[in-house]
Symmetry: C2
Subunit: 235 residues, 2 copies
DNA sequence: AGCGCCATATGATCTAAATCATATATGCAA
DNA sequence: TTGCATATATGATTTAGATCATATGGCGCT
């Protein structure tokens, strides 16, 4: 099922772009055009077929990645073979930033859809930081924000009830996408795993929330009907 | 029970120290003596009584903290009043680093024991970074490591079975303390909460692991008897 | 020394979520 | 277009962990 590696034909790209592609990434929002353009100079485009594995634990860390199209899942495999999803990187998100200070990757990264990525090369990026204190400060800020975001994820996982977890996740998405109509980055099965529950429980609980007129699911779209009630789901 | 604030008499300090106190902090291990000494110049000593609250959500962020003695718990309170422990900061650990880029704290910090802290002042610290690219690079490395550490916590929480969580936590402690005989930073009740389970489940599961001759509990000490088996507890 | 509080500890019961089982819908591929 | 694989969906049963109850032990305070 999972290819060791897979590439797409460049011709299969939906859109041709020009200029500063990374500009649209929330994580880079505060960077100057010059910084962004400098980053884009040290990137390499990567096209991945759905199911293909980008890297595995122990692989030499080449840098970190920006998701231009598609979605990837980071996961580890326990000794007994159980997969634990660490993160889902959707559209306009970055992942594996910590690889800058590690020789190797420490988890699997697998494309959940056909995906287009930028690899931001490690050595070149570190040089950019070293030579530009302004940029270093920005990067420190970005990492600090990441720490805050991860703490939120931890909080989310600690909320034991499925409805609390799902509500928290939908609110997170709404904040990221800055809209009350959010798009699930990947299929529900993968989200269930990310939130540490079974598909069955996810579907059932989602249906409950829908019956209570708190949210409305329509394919990959989720409409938040009652934001206040949704926030109160944290028990 | 919880005081709004509480201080100890300086005379109650167990030890008088001199020189570079922060040198013994793993997180600062790679910093030069000069950097360390510069950091110590911008600290303020804080003494806290057990149960007192250092900061609450919304309080102006003064900086981050280093635990010289004692232990603190960071937690949030859900709308329904449930407390979620985000982190336990024990001896020689730091916390609230992300406050450098936030105007306010976003959780509660409560002393679980009488504690001695250094507050590392925000503005001064940011200046130190800005004026020293070497130091900035080190701080970026430290934040990156933090990101990795938080991801491990997420993985730990996703492991659903209590024995997997407890095993994972003991291994984490063993790695941090670099020994097969680890000391629990705080009482088990608090650890149970951190790991997202009830005290009862923690005690029971711990006893199981003890009966299976995998670990041995003796007060705050935990002896790892069979490291290999412990690692295999991740189901 | 004595009291009281809280951590530690364990049993009994209850319940929510996992598991097992299956059915329908949907998207992709031949 | 049909067919297969996979996502979505839901019911029945099982079970692990939460909850409730209660007991013991150790430490600090007066």
């Amino acid at each position: 099922m999972k290819n060791t590696f897979g590439t797409l034909e460049p011709s299969s790209l939906k859109t041709k772009r020009s200029g500063l592609i990374l500009e649209e990434f929330p994580v880079f929002a505060t960077l100057s055009k010059e910084h962004l353009s400098n980053i884009e100079k040290i990137t390499r485009q990567i096209l991945l077929k759905k199911g293909s594995v980008l890297f595995s634990p122990g692989d030499a860390a080449e840098g970190f990645y920006a998701v231009l199209d598609g979605a990837l899942r980071m996961y580890r495999v326990s000794p007994k073979g159980k997969e634990i999803t660490l993160e889902i990187a959707g559209l306009k998100s970055t992942f594996a930033e910590a690889s800058l200070f590690s020789d190797t990757y420490h988890c699997f990264a697998e494309a959940l859809k056909d995906s287009e990525l930028y690899l931001i090369r490690k050595a070149e990026f570190l040089n950019m930081i070293r030579e530009d204190i302004q940029f270093a400060m920005e990067w420190i800020r970005i990492l600090s924000m990441q720490v805050i975001h991860l703490r939120q994820r931890i909080e989310e996982l600690s909320l034991k009830s499925p409805r609390a977890k799902i509500s928290s996740y939908i609110i997170l998405l709404a904040e990221m996408q800055n809209s009350s109509s959010v798009t699930l980055p990947v299929h529900r099965k993968a989200i269930a795993t990310l939130l540490g529950m079974t598909q069955e429980t996810f579907y059932r609980t989602a249906k409950e929330l829908e019956n209570e007129r708190i949210v409305h699911f329509d394919g990959q779209k989720v409409e938040i009907i009652n934001y206040t009630l949704l926030e109160e789901m944290f028990e």
